[in-house]
Amino acid sequence: MVAEQLIDGRVIEACQQGDRAAFQLLFETYKDKVFSIAVYSSGGDRAVADDVTQQIFLKLFTAIRQFRGDSEFTTWLYRLVVNACLDERRRRRRLLPWGETVAMRNPSEKKPQEKQYARLEVAEAVRAAIGELKPKFRLPILLKYIEGLSYEEIASVMGCSKGTVASRLNRGHSQLAKRLSHLNNPAAWGE
């Protein structure tokens, strides 16, 4: 959040004029959030998320000239991110055999410390369950919990009403709870 405060009108104006250094500042500020959404939207496939993140920033580099400041820059950016993730999903659905899913666990990840293991396992299970939600339920959850947007901001990004955001978050939360009902005990959280 502190880093985002560095992105002001001058930085965006510099980006609009093709300044690479300014664009790198923009990239460094938002890359983790954009990458996170891409990972969760691609079912945990980091290679796909790498590609999607690059595509998003490539598109941003040219499309930022069209940003007129009618809305918050972050709203405009996340709209770009959401559309890119939806496009990628549509493309993958055409390529993947029906029912095929991608494993969430990154094999290169190191084993966590023992006492944190249970909570990381919960986080891992949540990641997997998020990946199984329909995009219309998954994306509001990612925008809420990864980006920290308000319902009004999510509505603006998604192009829907606040009521629709509330309803989709409700259903997304319910589906998460149902899919992960086995975690509803203290042992699963290492407590």
Partner: protein, 395 residues
Amino acid sequence: MFSKHVTKDISAYCHGELSHEESKQFAEHIIACAKCRAKFEEVKLGVKLAEQLPQLTAPDHLWRELEPLLGRPNENRSAVVWSWQMKAAAAVLLLLSGWGVWLVYSNRVDALLADKRAWRVKRLDGTPTVGAEKISNNGELAVGEWLETDANSRAQIDVSSIGAVDIDENTRVRLLETRPTEHRLELARGKMSAHIWAPPRLFFVNTPSAVAADLGCAYTLEVNDQGSSLLRVTSGWVALELENRESIVPAGAACETRPSLGPGTPYFEDSAAGFQAALKKVDFDPDAATRSTALNAMLDQARPRDTLTLWHLLTRVEGEDRARVYDKMAALFPPPAGVTREGVLALNQQMLDSWRDAMETTWMGFGKGVPKPLAEAYWKFKNGLSRRLKEMAPK
């Protein structure tokens, strides 16, 4: 709006997207409506799970691969726009990035974020302090901070959007946690009065000898210098818990606690003085003979409404004492069909619950307590999903 079911507003409530008035009406509906409460517990679990979703770190190679793909920069414009302020901003960003990585790996991100969460504090009298700072009129109590009042000062805390807590003189409280699925205070000493309109088990107060779990109610809680506490409930229900020991305290009742022993047995404040004095010995006297004699005195003075106390005692006394408690209860309020003496003495949970359900209206009084449907809703809630959620809650 809130006369109808409120399931569509559950996430908005958890995320603080409802207005103060809407939150209050939502909570009132949830307390009374079993259907919405069940859905609330489900969505609350979903929120708790989603909160575990970590932000990931983009790999370092992304920029290296991306940069050659970008178009050629316009060098003239760059020289004009890329001012020293922006260079400084970039340097700060790089520093922040490094600092952020360190924070993640030292597990301090949660603590840092938690520190930003705070409740509003209003001065009522004198000069209360938050940390080392005195509050003139209004202040903030952040997670981890202590609020203290002296002999001449009082304060009021807004508990997120779910209620208010009045802090009396000579009191020391700390905010331990505030998030959509849990708000928790620590009362180290002194006295506080809570008015909470949240659904059950969102607001907790830790004391040295028990945890008070709000079940939608108003109450006062007092902690003395020895760490003992006294809970007095004025509306709704409060649960006092320590490890496996639990006392459920309805409106009009009180309950004492002791360090290491946990919550005593709840009693109605309009019960006989001799009954209350004997109960104190039964709960806390170290001598077994004294406790047994005091139990006789209690049973002699018990009224039908005091079955609240006797029902709790069933699981806390043994052998002949338990049999005497059963016989007195059966005389005051005969057990319903299917509840047998042998079963109760063997602490058959189903029979205990069934008898308790039958006695609720007697406990709640007539026109003074919570209506029967609400009491029923509470017990169903307590025996259902909430039990598992309570077990999940951090100690």
